[in-house]
Symmetry: D2
Subunit: 100 residues, 4 copies
């Protein structure tokens, strides 16, 4: 993890926040299992592709909500203690990967 | 399913083909569970975002291999029986969703 | 050009087809010039980013219409003469780049 | 412009900064004109698509550099004066459009 600024967010996630993200990821997990079943049942390729697109969209949504919280807490905190530069470059780097 | 051309690919997937796709999806499923654990352990946001990007990339790869097989079998078949137009429009529609 | 299957589409574009694509590209060109002006006038970053997103969306639309025509003509032609495999792999390769 | 936080960046771009962005956009403009020529000469579709992908990649790069500057100046400034929330939500909204 050495390439990142830290191991934990500066403001710990509340239990409610964690639960909300985990619930969305559990739904994604269910969708991935759903596609496995579609492949096993030899379902039509285009239907499978539509499902994969839906999962990608769901994951992007989760990712953006994590990025927003990260910016509101970790990055803002870094900015306020005069260490914004590095935190912002790290954020942009990960957004670039994300937007591929 | 009514909006698609059919319910199954014209050339059924072999067991080996199915297994290869299912294996990749099982890995994706494991990655999604991994992120849930990261969230529960309140791990650093950027590390989580990197993992989500990795899953999206893995899913896109699976999707493209399905799209390629689809074009080589279903679409090519449609083209040879003079019904390529509709199959190609359907393919492009799903590729558009996919490239978001 | 050596890495591609050919230098021209199998079915030449009609003048009307060319004109339609060129017109859309001229609009894109105008949008790009518009952003240059916004930068010179030191306009708000987010407004510039919204414009860049709009150009990317417009270019993707042009790209997909070219890809659709390509599949309906060049790829379909290759499929009918038993050389679909290579044409389809080339198509998927370029769609991958496109979806980044 | 009413939907955005302001009309200009808080820290005006220097002439050198403006020139660097404008130069990159002029190159993009040249690339767009290049594609028009390719269409007029009825060049191979895949070659055109490769060029469009290249332009999209170039525009994304410009966009990310603008977003980074925006975050380092406008957003950081808002954070420091206790108005980070709104600036960050605006940033995330535009990054979402951008990552499509």
């Amino acid at each position: 993890m050495g390439e990142h600024l830290r191991d934990h967010p500066v403001t710990p996630r509340t239990d409610a926040e964690k639960q909300a993200v985990v619930n969305r990821l559990k739904r994604v997990e269910g969708q991935v299992r759903g596609i496995q079943k579609m492949v096993e049942e030899d379902r039509y390729c285009v239907d499978i592709l539509v499902q994969i697109s839906a999962i990608n969209a769901a994951l992007k949504k989760v990712g953006f909500s994590i990025a927003e919280r990260h910016t509101k807490h970790c990055v803002s905190d870094a900015v306020q203690s005069g260490e914004g530069e590095e935190a912002i470059e790290e954020l942009m780097e990960v957004m670039k990967q994300f937007s591929k």
